[in-house]
Amino acid sequence: MPLNIIVLIKVIPDLEQIKANASTGEVQTDRIPLRLETLSENAIEAAVQLREKHGGKVFGLIFGKQESAPLMKKAYAMGVDEGTVLTGYGENNPMHTAEVLCQKIRTMQFDLIISGNQSADTYTGLLPGIISSKLNINLLSNALTLSIDQATITVRSSLDRKIQNLSSQLPAIVSVTQETNQPRLPPVMQIMAAGRKQIVTEAAQVADTANVKRISNKAPKSERRKQLFEKTDEGIVAIVKAIKEEIR
């Protein structure tokens, strides 16, 4: 059965390059390059693998800002067939994000939604659950493997210390983990084809309810001793000694 799969893709600033202002502790995220959240890449890979097996279409949805739009190219290169970027993302607010996405999803034909089980910039992990309840479809979370037979999806779901099999009728939403797969390196033909593909952007139709307030988001102060152990051969002993002195 050919599948219509929606994959939810998050664009985040590259966390490796975020700096905090040393005196104010204010986090600087402007002018930091954007990237696809790594779990979104796992989600794309899972969707593309299912499409390769069953046929159908993978539709990518990004809720972000205008600057996020070019990142859809990477998703195309990885095998996403079509995509829309919803603009108007403000602060982290899972309820609002879910509502924006659901509004769009309700206008679409789909069998399956796939997303990462959380994202590295906020770590709330709430989105798949909220979408599941809003759309009234089953959530199969932390899927390690995904398989579809007729209109039923089965996943091996990773709980903390246990793995259990879950299955559900389609449509459903599945969240994936980093262990689910190894996202592919896009072949050059696809990278180039992706460059020529159209990226649709739409302004999100739902206003942010501002029901989440940010109280503080400052980097903790850290005072560096700036001790440099030049002789690497003596390193460990010297460092242990220095730490011992510090905690005395």
Partner: protein, 676 residues
Amino acid sequence: MMYLSSILLLAGLLAAAASFFYTLYSIFWNALRIPEKKIKMGLSIGRRIYLTIRNVLLQGKLFKDSSGGIMHALMFWGFVAFAGYSATFFARGIVPSYQLIPAGLFKDVLFLTVDIFALIVIVDVGYAVLRRWVIKVPRYQGYNGFEASFILFLVATLMVTYYALGVLRLDGVSAGITGAIMEGIPASYTPISGFFASLFPGISGSSGLDLYWILYGIHAIDFIVFLAYIPTSKHLHLVAAPLNVLLSKDTKPAQISLIDFEQQKRFGATDIRDFSWKDYMDFYSCTECGRCTYNCPAFLTGKTLSPRDIIWDLRKVVMEEGPKLRHAGIEEKDKILTPVIGEPISEEDLWSCTTCMACVEQCPVMIDHVEKIVDMRRSLVLNQGKAPKETIETYTNMEMYGSPWINDPSTRGDWAKDLNVNILSESQNDDFDILYWVGCVASYDRRNQDIAKSIVKILQKAGVRFAILGSEEKCTGDPAKRTGNEYLAQNLATANIETLNRHKVHKVITGCPHCFNSLKNDYKEMGLEMDVIHHTEFINQLISLGKIDLKALESDDKEKFTYHDSCYLGRYNKIYEEPRTIIKTVTSNFEEMEMNKSKGLCCGAGGGRLWMNENVGTKISHKRMEMADKVNATTVVTACPYCMIMLDDARRVMGKDEKMQISDISEFVASRLVQN
């Protein structure tokens, strides 16, 4: 009898020639019709002739393995002289009165040469038998034993019957035969035949004549079989190798060609159409001698990669699929050609290669293995997105951070912050004479930053006006290029070329041989002309110009130095002497390790291997450290940050950190600068 022999000889020769040329035709059909990869052939005629004289006539590249090389060279020269004999043999045999080479001194001397060389060839055959089956030289083992013995048998028989016929001639047996070979040559010009004749009692009459014709027949048949057999065996190299040298490409060996992503439809080498006609000549030229494999660091440390097998496997596929394609029609490529990766060439082998070029350097017939290996890697990476997991992560980093590791690009120049260096990303002050290209490893790796600092110290001491790019510098793309990700490599190169042009850079010094090779050779292909100098060359110049002085070593007896050649400096760019000269200005306590200079053993890091796990066999770097240990080195001097990482790690893991240190040539110099 005469009549019959003429006809038989002619018929046999024609049949052999027909079979010979038909095989050649089909082989050249393969080489001209199947390949789709284009190559540059701009090399000058003069250079071609030089290479052919050096490597074919003088057998230049064979002497890298001295004993086998001398043997082969003598065999080759013997055969060249013998060709003159064979031509006369057949010409006179078919038309008895015909003098192919007119009687006279030239002919006499030619036959004298033949008479001497035939003996050498017999001794050679004996020596070959000894090497192959008695001493069992490893590189011959397991390869075409039948073929080798058959060929040696044919050669030996040809020579033995030559002498036998010569002896009979001296006995006067053939005096009455018009077409008899060698009649008219003074006996003194066939001294070895003369010597053999003296060993046997003379023979004459009809039994002599019978024996003469039998030997004559064996000699003729032997030659005919040999002729027909050549193109179907590894002795195709007799035809293909000289051509291969004559038709050498314009590009340096192991130079990876550019891909035009807008124009080209197929990327890398998936099946045999994706090689060039020159690659086919390489396949045909391979003699299976195994020099490549027995100098390959991967093979020497227990990996399954064998460059000989790569060439020979590709040749087999060409020989199998070529005729099928010829019969079905060239348009049927998609139906007939099958991928060469997986079977017979495993992905694992392709990823084991360090692109060290030892194979290319050793190959006597100038085969370029590296280019083909990278082309097959390209097929995996560019068409299927396949590469080792670590390599894929490296690609992501290079794309995101302009470095193979996760490093914040804005901190790239931080190591130089307190050193009073013109960092262009901050100063935008283009008032400098030479750009110091730092490279990713020396920018970010803690140990290697010492190399960068030493280079700065030397440049400052010598009063050189230099600058670094700081955060505007990106990885040159070398690790991407050599692992087959040409797309990423070109993106990085394009960005760097734009930066270099913007700062109007004309002269670059770098401490990294990989950056050096990229900037000097790869970027040149992309249109960037700069004067690129490696720090070993530059420091050597500074010393000889008296711009810096070095203290001689005092504790000479306690310390022992050796030098580890970087592949990308040595074999790729032929810089062997400069680092050694520098070391020797300070100390005479220097000893070469085994496998040095053009035979230098790789550290295991090239070809993107620095960022891959090495789980099979011994680690290449460990093997190298054992060699350093053998000469009791206290300091291994290197000139490459990749080598530094590999050897420094090996030293620790092997527990040699007490007695041995690794030092870059720049550190070696910077710590011995005379302050005045």
